[in-house]
C-alpha cells in the first residue's frame, strides 16, 4: 500500500513537472519571437511568403537600434526619471508605513482606509487635470516633478511597509527610547535597517513602474527629455515612416534588460520577501 502511494505520488510529481515545463515553453514563446525578430534583416520583415527564422542572424540590428535614435540619451533620461521617482517613493512609503503600523491614534484606521481607497481613483482622473495645472504654471518639462510626485509614496508600498513593521516587536523601540533616542533616531537607526527586504521589494516595484510608465513622461516631458517608453514606440521608422520591427525588437531588448538584471539578481529575496511578509492579512 505504501509503495503504491509513493508510486502514485511520484507519477503525480512527474505530470506536474511536465505541465510546468509546457507552461514555461508557452510563456517563453513571445520572448523567443522577440529575439528571432530582432535578428531579422529588413527584407525578411516584409517579404512574401513570410520568413519565420532569419537566414543568418543580423547582429547589426543591435548596433543600429542604439545609434539610430541616440539610445544613450533616452536611456539616461529613463534612468534619471526612475531614480527621481524611486528614491522618494520608497522613503515616503516607508515613513507612512511606519506611521500606520506604530502609532495608535483614534483616526488611524479611517486614514488608512482612505489611503487604500485612493487606489480606486483612475490615474487619469488626477493626472490629466494635474497636467493642465502644471503646464499652466510653467512647471512642465521639469524632471524634479518626479521627486515631488514620488514623495507621497504608493498605497501598495505603504501597505507593504506597514505589514513588515507590524512584525517587529515594540520592545525594540522601547529600549531605545529609554536610552533617550528621539523618534527619528529610532526610525533611521533601528527600524529602517530591519525592513531591508521590504525596501528592496518596494524599490523594485517603484523602479519598474516608473521605467515602464508611458503616460506621465508623454504628458509632462518634451522631446529631448522623454523616456525610452515614449521614444521606443515611435522612434524606429524608416524614411517613409514604416515601423522597423526588427530594430525595434533590438531596442526593446535593451529596454527590458536593466529590469531583467535587477530582477534576477534580487529575485530570491524579492519573491521570498513578497511571500513571507507582504501579502498576508
Amino acid at each position: 500500500m505504501a509503495m503504491l502511494m509513493s508510486r502514485q505520488q511520484q507519477l503525480a510529481k512527474i505530470v506536474k513537472v511536465l505541465v510546468l515545463l509546457l507552461l514555461v515553453l508557452i510563456f517563453f514563446l513571445p520572448i523567443v519571437s522577440m529575439f528571432v525578430t530582432s535578428l531579422k534583416s529588413r527584407g525578411e520583415l516584409y517579404v512574401f511568403p513570410p520568413v519565420v527564422f532569419p537566414k543568418e542572424p543580423n547582429w547589426d540590428n543591435y548596433l543600429t537600434a542604439w545609434t539610430m535614435i541616440h539610445y544613450e540619451r533616452y536611456f539616461l533620461n529613463s534612468v534619471i526619471i526612475s531614480l527621481f521617482y524611486t528614491v522618494p517613493c520608497v522613503m515616503g512609503s516607508c515613513f507612512a508605513g511606519y506611521g500606520f503600523s506604530r502609532f495608535q491614534v483614534k483616526e488611524r484606521k479611517t486614514i488608512f482606509m482612505l489611503m487604500l481607497s485612493t487606489m480606486m481613483v483612475p490615474y487619469m482622473v488626477t493626472l490629466v487635470p494635474l497636467y493642465l495645472i502644471v503646464s499652466r504654471i510653467g512647471l512642465a518639462d521639469k524632471r524634479f516633478f518626479w521627486i515631488i510626485w514620488g514623495v507621497q509614496g504608493a498605497p501598495f508600498l505603504i501597505f507593504l511597509f506597514r505589514q513588515y513593521f507590524s512584525t517587529i516587536p515594540f520592545s525594540f523601540e522601547e529600549s531605545a527610547r529609554i536610552e533617550g533616542a528621539n523618534r527619528f533616531q529610532i526610525f533611521f537607526r533601528i527600524m529602517f535597517p530591519l525592513v531591508q527586504t521590504a525596501v528592496i521589494i518596494a524599490a523594485i516595484f517603484a523602479f519598474q513602474w516608473s521605467w515602464s510608465d508611458y503616460l506621465m513622461p508623454v504628458l509632462f516631458l518634451r522631446a529631448e527629455k522623454v523616456t525610452l517608453a515614449v521614444k521606443l514606440v515611435n522612434g524606429y521608422v524608416d524614411m517613409k515612416q514604416n515601423i522597423l520591427h526588427n530594430i525595434g525588437m533590438a531596442g526593446i531588448v535593451y529596454y527590458t534588460l536593466p529590469i531583467v538584471i535587477v530582477f534576477f539578481v534580487l529575485q530570491k529575496r524579492f519573491i521570498a520577501g513578497l511571500l513571507s511578509g507582504g501579502l498576508k492579512g
Binding site: K13, K16, V17, L20, L23, V24, F27, L29, P30, S33, M34, V36, F48, P50, V51, P88, G92, F95, A96, Y98, G99, R102, F103, M115, M119, M120, V121, P122, M124, T126, V128, P129, L130, I133, W149, V151, G153, R183, Q208, S212, A229, L232, N234, V237, Q241, N242, I243, H245, G248, M249, I252, Y255, T256, I259, F263, I271, L274, L275, G278, L279
Partner: protein, 315 residues
C-alpha cells in the same frame, strides 16, 4: 496624584499623535496636492464647456455627462471595457491559481519555475505590447506557427484585427505571475495539519482541494478580483500598441485602436488631447471613476457572501 497621572497619559497620547502625523505627512502632502486638488479642479472643469482654447468658459452643469451617456459609441466603450475587465481578470486569476496549485507541494525546480513564470510580469508594458504585436502577427507570428505545427489551426488567423479583445486579454494571461505569487502566499498560510487530517479521513486530492484549499484561498482570490478589476478598467496604452492599423511612426495615440479595444480611459484621453475637448474628456474619466467606485462597493458587499470566514468571526 491621579491628576498628574492623567496629565502624563495625555502627553503620551499627544506625543503619539504628533509622531503619527509626522510620519504620514509625506503621504498627506501628496494626497492633498496630487489627489484632492486635481480631482476637485477636474470635476469643476467637467461641469463647464471648456475646450483647449476657450475664451468664453461657462458653467453647463451635468450636460457633458448627459451627452456622453446618450452617445452610443461611449456606451459601447463602457460595455467593451466591462467585458474586457471580466474576462481578463477571471482568466489571469484562474491561470495564476492553476500555476500556484502546480507549485504547491514539493516539486523539483520549484524556485526556478516560480521565478520564470513570474518574470513576464516584470517586463515593461510597452515592451510587452510590442512583443505581442509581433508574436500574434498573422503571417510571421510565432503563435500561429505554434498552433499550426500542433495542428490546431489550418490557416493563419489575424489575431490583432479579428480578435482585438482576445489579443489584449492574452497579455494579462501572460502576466499572471502576480496572481500566482498572491496564491502562493495564500497557500503558505494553510496549516499542513488540515491536509493530514483530511488524508487520514480518506479525502482524495479533489476533495481536499474543494473542502480545504479553495475556501481558504478565497480571501486571496477576492483581493485579486478587486484590485485587478480596478486596474483592468483603466487599460489604456496596450490597445494602441497592439493596434493593427498602426503601421507608421508618430504618436501611437494618434491612430485609434479597433472599436472593441477602444476602452473608456483611452476614449477620455482621445477626447481631451486629440479632440481638445477638455471638459467632456474629464467628464468621461469621472464616469469611469464612478463606475469603478460602484463596482468596488458591490464587490465588497458580495465579498461577505463569497469569501470563507471562520465560524463566528466578525467581519
Amino acid at each position: 496624584m491621579a491628576g498628574s497621572e492623567i496629565k502624563r497619559m495625555d502627553t503620551i497620547s499627544r506625543q503619539r499623535r504628533i509622531s503619527f502625523y509626522i510620519f504620514i505627512s509625506p503621504w498627506i502632502f501628496g494626497f492633498l496636492l496630487f489627489q484632492i486638488m486635481p480631482i476637485a479642479w477636474g470635476f469643476s472643469i467637467s461641469l463647464t464647456n471648456r475646450m483647449a482654447f476657450t475664451v468664453m468658459q461657462k458653467f453647463i452643469g451635468l450636460d457633458n455627462y448627459r451627452n456622453l451617456l446618450a452617445d452610443p459609441e461611449i456606451r459601447y466603450s463602457l460595455l467593451t471595457t466591462f467585458i474586457y475587465t471580466v474576462s481578463s481578470t477571471t482568466l489571469a486569476v484562474v491561470t495564476g491559481l492553476i500555476i500556484a496549485l502546480l507549485l504547491e507541494k514539493e516539486v523539483p525546480g520549484r524556485g526556478v519555475f516560480r521565478t520564470v513564470l513570474y518574470f513576464p510580469y516584470m517586463i515593461p508594458l510597452i515592451a510587452v505590447g510590442w512583443i505581442f504585436k509581433i508574436f500574434l502577427d498573422r503571417d510571421t507570428g510565432f503563435f500561429n506557427i505554434f498552433l499550426s505545427k500542433l495542428g490546431f489551426i489550418s490557416s493563419n488567423i489575424a489575431w490583432l484585427s479579428d480578435f482585438p479583445r482576445g489579443s489584449v486579454v492574452s497579455l494579462s494571461i501572460w502576466m499572471s505571475g502576480w496572481s500566482m505569487i498572491i496564491f502562493l502566499g495564500g497557500l503558505s498560510t494553510i496549516p499542513n495539519e488540515l491536509y493530514e487530517v483530511a488524508k487520514i479521513d480518506g479525502a482524495g486530492y479533489l476533495r481536499r482541494l474543494r473542502a480545504i484549499t479553495l475556501p481558504l484561498l478565497s480571501p486571496f482570490a477576492f483581493f485579486q478580483f478587486v484590485t485587478s478589476s480596478i486596474y483592468s478598467m483603466q487599460k489604456f496604452i496596450e490597445p494602441y500598441i497592439l493596434n493593427p492599423r498602426q503601421q507608421r511612426g508618430g504618436q501611437v495615440t494618434a491612430m485609434i485602436p479597433p472599436r472593441e479595444t477602444f476602452f473608456t480611459m483611452a476614449r477620455g484621453y482621445d477626447i481631451v488631447f486629440l479632440k481638445n475637448r477638455f471638459a467632456q474628456g474629464l467628464a468621461l474619466l469621472w464616469i469611469l471613476f464612478a463606475i469603478i467606485l460602484i463596482i468596488t462597493v458591490i464587490f465588497i458587499r458580495l465579498g461577505g457572501f463569497v469569501v470563507y470566514t471562520e465560524v463566528g468571526e466578525k467581519r
